[in-house]
């Protein structure tokens, strides 16, 4: 039906997720093979239809909330539901307005440098990140479907009533309400018959698609973070062989003979045919090459056979230097990726945290009214677990990024840099100095995404719960 679209970099890795996003109705119109006007129009209509349906139902829920705003219990419950689905609306709108920066972040990794010595390690960590991204996607999809199923199942338990406080007698009366997953206002009768079936199906659609909209966008964000972390792992892994390579590159005569490692010379000789290749083959893009051939920037010392301490040819030295260059350029690329991720998704995280904080406060209040194992308890705890789970989802990946990026310094230190050349030592120093500061994702500069954030959110919920239970 559709010809395979040619993709590269992150888009190839994230294609299943992107297709799911398009299916769920996000305004994602790139990455199709067939970009003819008719098909694009159809896709735009598809997304708009989803958006309209979801917004209309959201407004219906809002009208219901306004109708029953005098009942405290009803108001709290409806507010929580409305806030819960606010995530989906916000994320839908956010993506629609910010799709350019999403495309830009997805394109950051389209061109990456490579080095013949490190391609195997690169491929290995790329594969690891791919499998982790897939597993995350399956897990989140499974959890979304599970949540929808358990929500619908819970609808059939307990009484489907509304609690109304009678003004005259000041006691709580029950008013029958339709047995639907969500409380919403409809212009037609929904107590039974055709209206009921239609509303039920509409609500199932709404539940599934709105949860999918919100969760899939979080999955894209976390997948980006997984990719960045695995790239950092790759950099840490190649530090050791890089040092061993540089140990042979001793461009100054050493002071004492002990610093001269014979074994490292042997290792250099084992470098596969690369030294006989045309030097141009080492780099994938011409601009990477600017330093040595044209002599701009780098100071390649020209050694005759007698002056060169290790007996390396100029080509071998260039290989060792190119390895360092590869490392630094790759690290800069990762920093660019992380910065792009932060710019793209930071504001969405800020909105998410704002809405979640209010939701959790209200949920803490609702939790104080739990008086036994019943439908009310299950639904409150379900809301709590889901909301906290969403926050935990991106906090844990943000935290992993911080851990990985700050452990690069330790990896740099733990290799045998003391045997390396002066250049290698300077390289280790600069890397250590720079990597002391961890790479973080911030929510529009208000907070850093880490497990500390999650712990503070959890602590705040417990505190509100304890204060509110006292005020009861």
């Amino acid at each position: 039906m559709m010809t395979k679209v040619k993709t590269q970099g992150l888009v190839t890795d994230l294609m299943p997720c992107i297709r799911l996003l398009q299916a769920a109705g996000h305004f994602l119109f790139n990455y199709h093979a067939d970009t003819s006007g008719m098909n694009m129009l159809l896709r735009k209509i598809y997304s708009s239809a989803h958006a309209v349906l979801i917004v209309v139902h959201y407004i219906c829920m809002g009208i219901n909330m306004a109708q029953y705003k005098d009942e405290v219990n009803e108001l709290t419950a409806n507010t929580i539901t409305v806030l819960f689905f606010a995530h989906s609306i916000i994320k839908l709108a956010f993506f629609a307005f910010n799709s350019k920066s999403f495309y830009r972040t997805l394109a950051v990794w389209n061109q990456s440098n490579s080095h013949p010595l490190f391609t195997e390690s690169d491929a290995r960590y790329h594969q690891i990140s791919l499998s982790k991204m897939r597993r995350l996607l399956y897990f989140i999809c499974g959890m979304t479907v599970f949540s929808v199923i358990s929500w619908v199942t819970l609808t059939f338990f307990g009484e489907s009533v509304r609690m109304i406080a009678s003004k005259e007698t000041n006691e709580t009366l029950t008013e029958p309400a339709p047995r639907l997953p969500l409380k919403a206002w409809y212009p037609f009768k929904t107590m039974s018959g055709g209206g009921y079936v239609f509303a039920f199906i509409y609500q199932i659609y709404f539940l599934l698609f709105s949860m999918a909209l919100a969760n899939l966008l979080d999955v894209i964000f976390c997948s980006w973070l997984i990719f960045a972390c695995e790239q950092l792992q790759h950099l840490k892994a190649i530090m050791k062989p890089l040092m061993e390579l540089s140990a042979a590159l001793d461009t100054y005569r050493p002071n004492t003979a002990e610093l001269f490692r014979v074994s490292s010379t042997d290792k250099t000789e084992k470098v596969p045919d690369a030294v006989d290749m045309d030097i141009r083959g080492i780099y994938s893009t011409q601009q990477d090459f600017g330093m040595t051939l044209r002599g701009a920037g780098g100071k390649l010392q020209n050694f005759n056979a007698e002056n060169n301490p290790n007996g390396l040819t100029a080509k071998q030295e260039m290989l060792a230097r190119s390895a360092i260059k590869y490392w630094v350029e790759r690290h800069k690329h990762v920093v660019r990726l992380v910065a792009s991720i932060g710019d793209t998704y930071g504001t969405a995280l800020l909105f998410h945290m704002l809405v979640s904080t209010i939701t959790l406060t209200l949920l803490a209040y609702q939790a104080t009214k739990i008086n036994g194992i019943n439908v009310y308890a299950f639904s409150t705890i379900g809301y709590l677990v889901y909301t906290l789970g969403q926050v935990f989802h991106f906090c844990i990946f943000g935290n992993r990024l911080i851990e990985e990026s700050s452990s690069v310094m330790e990896a740099a230190y733990s290799c045998q840099w003391y045997d390396g050349s002066e250049e290698a030592k300077t390289f280790v120093q600069i890397v250590c100095q720079q990597c002391q500061k961890a790479m973080t994702i911030s929510g529009a500069k208000f907070f850093n995404v880490s497990l500390d954030l999650f712990a503070s959110v959890l602590g705040a919920v417990v505190t509100y719960f304890m204060v509110l239970i006292q005020l009861k």
Binding site: Y413, V428, A455
Partner: protein, 388 residues
């Protein structure tokens, strides 16, 4: 006092590990392990069942009396489970530390540096076990004493059990009471054995790693222009000890997390009991509370030691005569300093760092929860509580 040999320090721990069924030289778990663990777990389930059966808003005071026992039981089981999962790492770490210790003992200068520390560890090892053993003896054998006292005073036999459990049968006569009593004290001893061993192991290992860091600092400080080639040795040693500290963190991160979480709950419940409970409870509460606080304090002290010792290497690097050395050595010193500015921390599963700061945070968090509990607690029968 004499410098203790490595075997002396670890003798009691190794014997305890053997007793628990996870001996040092055998990677397989013995039957003894399950024989000790399963009754304790069963006892915990019974205690929790009892707790659940008494749960209602009027019994709040009683619930906070039951909570500490359950908490300590749960804590010791979790700690030993976490440690059993990492026992291979523990054995390797002990062997590595033993090798390093031997090197220390061979050099009198080094021995002098760490003398005080080692003597302290030996002291802590001995008296921690003794103290806990005494406590559990007193607590366990208080029940027959209370029964005897009641008999003498009121001439009737009340069957008192040391721990409140929910049992499917009554313990109103001698035989069932005796069975449950023996079972209870057996579980009590197991519980104390578990958590005391884990704590002492933590103290000993952290101290030994700290010692190695301080020796590296000492060696680094003494480097001068003529001995600049020793810098490479120093770096290698530092890398090795950093790796050992990483293993240490790996082993103890889960037990530390459980300790922090459950310790806060215990302090809260005990403080509440102390304030609101009746006078007969006070000595027991004070004893329990001080032991919990001491345990968390010791954990934080050793964590803080590790942080300070590993960051002292940076100071030592500055204190050596680097200004007289050649360019290469200065670069090496700079790299060492950059690395050592980031100290080696022990964490509670990355959620929080174990240090003095975290200790005060635990105390203040428990205090705030305790204040909230106190304000919201209304003694039953004094105020009409609305139905929800």
């Amino acid at each position: 006092m004499d410098i203790p040999k490595f075997e002396e320090l670890l003798k009691q721990i190794k014997m305890n590990f053997w007793l628990m069924g996870i001996p040092f030289d055998n990677p397989k778990i013995q039957i003894r392990y399950y024989v000790l663990l399963l009754p304790l777990s069963l006892m915990l389930i019974e205690e929790i069942a009892f707790f659940g059966s008494r749960m209602s808003s009027e019994n709040f005071l009683e619930l906070t009396q039951l909570a500490p026992c359950i908490c300590i039981g749960v804590l010791s089981v979790l700690k030993i489970l976490a440690l059993t999962a990492k026992r291979q790492k523990i054995y390797e770490l002990t062997q590595n530390l033993e090798c390093l210790h031997k090197i220390i003992l061979n050099d009198t200068r080094k021995t002098e540096l760490v003398r005080k520390n080692l003597v302290l560890i030996k002291f802590i090892t001995k008296y921690f076990f003794v103290l806990n053993a005494v406590l559990i003896f007193v607590y366990n054998f208080s029940s027959p004493v209370i029964i005897a006292y009641n008999y003498i005073v009121s001439n009737e036999v009340q069957f008192v059990l040391p721990y409140a459990v929910l049992l499917p049968f009554k313990t109103d006569s001698w035989i069932p009471w005796l069975i449950v009593y023996v079972y209870s004290i057996f579980c009590g001893f197991t519980c104390v054995l578990y958590y005391a061993t884990v704590d002492v192991l933590y103290c000993v290992m952290t101290s030994l790693v700290c010692n190695n860091f301080s020796l590296i600092s000492f060696k680094l400080q003494k480097v001068n222009r003529n001995t600049a080639h020793l810098l490479k040795e120093v770096v290698k040693e530092q890398q090795y000890v950093l790796k050992l500290a990483e293993d240490l963190e790996n082993i103890f991160t889960a037990p530390n997390l459980f300790n922090v979480l459950i310790g806060s709950v215990e302090i809260c419940a005990l403080g509440f009991n102390l304030m609101i409970g009746d006078l007969t409870q006070i000595p027991g509460c004070i004893l329990f509370l001080s032991s919990v606080l001491l345990q968390i304090l010791i954990m934080s002290v050793f964590g803080e030691n590790l942080i300070s010792e590993s960051s002292r290497i940076a100071e030592a690097a500055f204190l050596c005569k680097w200004y007289e050395m050649d360019q290469k050595s200065k670069k090496t010193i700079l790299t060492i300093m950059i690395r050592s500015h980031k100290p080696k921390k022990l964490t509670a599963y990355k959620f929080s760092v174990i240090s003095y700061g975290s200790f005060s945070k635990i105390i203040s968090t428990s205090w705030s929860y305790f204040t909230i509990l106190r304000t919201m607690y209304t003694p039953p029968g004094t105020k009409f509580q609305d139905d929800l």
